[in-house]
């Protein structure tokens, strides 16, 4: 393990010219080739936290499958945790954790506690390591209340926390999360994000997550990779992405009484009003201001009864980046 950790010490993911083509049946027996991932080249350093975003069908899941050794690349090279995923899959399994938002790695008819006992055996954890790690994850993810409940009876939020613990039980150096917050309520999302931040701070775990939720990206990721039609369209910070495409959040305020359009709020743009000015929508840029600043500017002028903040949508960001690029 000493040599192994030094091999994966600097780069978690190294991908060069990675390409994956699928043959799909188009009509009848005719087949056509579809390129899901197209000459992807990127490096993720150990300890980084990266958001891998893109529209549906952009090639995110295909990339993850190649990183995990499930799919063989059509062309190019891939190294995950310093290993060749397909050839060294079993060794890689000890260093990689994956949470598939849509696929469970828990046993649906068993309680979480038993699933973790089995997974500890699967990863050959020592009894001491198993006890410590399970206790740590149960405490941090607040799993204690439903540890003895069969998985099929858990709520989606509870199950997702259970899945994350399952993927982290063997303390992988790299954690890949495929749509981890899909379908979760606001509170569950928040808890999961806080946990992932704490886990990363405590163990230096590298995070790679695909998501449609820009909230996930802005709170968890230092770096954003945007993939479009299998190609890397952007690699940099979220602030830079927002600057490029103007991905703005939207503050929606419900007022006590109808008011004229709230124009001239600093760093905010009035998008529209409904109900004769009872509900108004203001877009603002995270890089220039905060939701609180916009709200207080609004509150000086009118009485706010209720509010919500809409996160920019990944699909929207993708659309804008191509609009900006003149496509």
């Amino acid at each position: 393990m000493t040599t192994a950790s030094s091999a994966s010490g600097t780069t978690a993911i190294e991908v060069a010219g990675l390409t994956r083509r699928f043959r799909v049946r188009s009509r009848g027996f005719a087949r056509k080739e579809v390129t899901a991932v197209d000459g992807l080249t990127l490096t993720v350093g150990a300890g980084e936290s990266v958001g891998y975003i893109g529209a549906n069908g952009a090639g995110k899941s295909t990339t993850i499958k190649m990183l995990a050794g499930i799919l063989v690349p059509s062309a190019g090279t891939v190294r995950t945790c310093g290993l060749e995923p397909v050839r060294q899959r079993r060794e890689l399994a000890r260093r990689l954790g994956v949470v598939f938002g849509q696929r469970s790695q828990l046993w649906w008819d068993l309680p979480l506690a038993e699933s973790y006992r089995i997974l500890a055996a699967v990863h050959s954890l020592s009894p001491q390591r198993e006890r410590e790690r399970t206790a740590e994850l149960v405490e941090r993810l607040e799993l204690g209340e439903f540890l003895a409940t069969p998985v099929r009876q858990l709520s989606l939020g509870q199950r997702m926390r259970g899945e994350v613990a399952a993927a982290l039980l063997h303390s992988p150096a790299l954690l890949v999360l495929d749509e981890p917050t899909i379908g979760l309520d606001v509170l569950s999302k928040q808890r999961l994000r806080e946990f992932l931040l704490a886990e990363r701070a405590a163990h230096g775990t590298t995070l790679l997550l695909t998501t449609h939720d820009m909230g996930d990206v802005s709170r968890l990721c230092e770096r954003v990779l945007l993939v479009d039609r299998g190609r890397l369209a952007y690699d940099g910070s979220l602030a830079g992405l927002s600057k490029t495409v103007g991905a703005r959040r939207v503050l929606v305020v419900d007022l006590a009484a109808p008011a004229p359009d709230l124009l001239g709020v600093p760093h905010a743009e009035h998008l529209g009003s409904e109900g004769g000015g009872l509900r108004q929508r203001l877009a603002f840029d995270d890089a220039a201001t905060t939701a609180a600043a916009v709200l207080s500017a609004v509150s000086e002028r009118v009485e706010v009864r209720d509010l919500s903040v809409e996160e920019p949508d990944v699909e929207d960001v993708v659309r804008r980046i191509y609009a900006a690029g003149g496509r």
């Binding site: 995990a68 799919l71 849509q102 990863h123």
Partner: protein, 276 residues
């Protein structure tokens, strides 16, 4: 990263498999009522198939050179071997479901070979009563036939039972390998696997030529019970299946597994899309 010194400890290679299997057994036996029903229905199916043979032999004294006593022995060996294989490996025919739901990908995230994980992912405990039916037929069959007992005969029976169980297990695995290509082909593979089980309980001498080609050699079903019984009882056997072939039951198991592992390997390659 985990401290390497803290890994290991209980590192028997079987520990991951044992942990899964033990939990599956607990899960299946925890609902006592339904488990008891499963056990009972399993026994019933075995008895119905046994009764079928008995009914057949009410109207004929011998079929394909085997009398009722001999055919009971064939049934006993075939059914014990098949049910044992079914208990340990039979659930691999759920692979199409895993493929459709994408849950096979989860196996890729664990540091054990895929096939070993799939085989040990489940165990059909309810089949134990079915094995009981087969064993009963086998014991009765051994008692009512005129067998010159010797250590060699005992060894022969043990080898045949192990080899036949492995042959059927290999059939299940080969069928699973094919599923990678033909996701909805379980009807076809079931025809070979369960048809093979049924054919195994019959005297192969009554088969027509196409059946001999299929279940005599391609899928060596005749080697699981019929040929060993013919060899054991010193019967003449069929002209294209001489009775000394009964000694080659282990070879049939090796052949089946060679085909099974090839089918599995090709199937996995196809799934991963690495050309194949």
């Amino acid at each position: 990263m985990a401290d390497p010194a803290l890994r290991g400890g209980r590192t028997g290679w079987w520990r991951p498999y044992r942990a899964v299997l033990a939990s599956r057994v607990r899960a299946q036996t925890s609902y006592r009522g339904s488990f008891a029903l499963d056990l009972a229905s399993s026994v019933l199916i075995g008895l119905v198939e046994l009764a079928e043979i008995w009914v057949l032999y009410r109207s004929v004294d011998a079929l394909g050179g085997l009398d009722l006593a001999a055919v009971l022995l064939v049934f006993g060996i075939a059914d014990t071997a098949f049910s044992t294989a079914d208990l340990f490996v039979g659930h691999v025919d759920t692979l199409p479901r895993y493929l459709r739901a994408g849950t096979l990908d989860v196996f890729y995230l664990r540091p054990q070979p895929l096939l070993a994980q799939l085989v040990t992912s489940e165990i059909s405990v309810r089949r134990v009563t079915r094995i009981g039916v087969g064993l009963t037929a086998l014991v009765v069959g051994l008692a009512v036939n005129d067998i010159a007992w010797s250590p060699l005969v005992v060894a022969f029976l043990v080898v045949v039972l192990v080899a036949s169980t492995l042959t059927f297990a290999g059939l299940f695995v080969a069928a699973a390998g094919v599923q990678f290509f033909l996701v909805d082909a379980s009807e076809m593979t079931n025809a070979v696997v369960y048809g093979g089980r049924y054919a195994a309980t019959q005297p192969a001498s009554v088969w027509g030529k196409p059946l001999v080609a299929l279940f005599g050699f391609a899928v060596p079903i005749a080697f699981t019970a019929y040929l060993p019984v013919v060899a054991l009882l010193g019967l003449p056997g069929a002209e294209w299946l001489p009775s000394w072939l009964g000694w080659l039951a282990p070879l049939a198991a090796v052949w089946t597994w060679a085909v099974a592992l090839l089918a599995w390997r090709t199937g996995v390659r196809h799934y991963q899309g690495g050309g194949g």
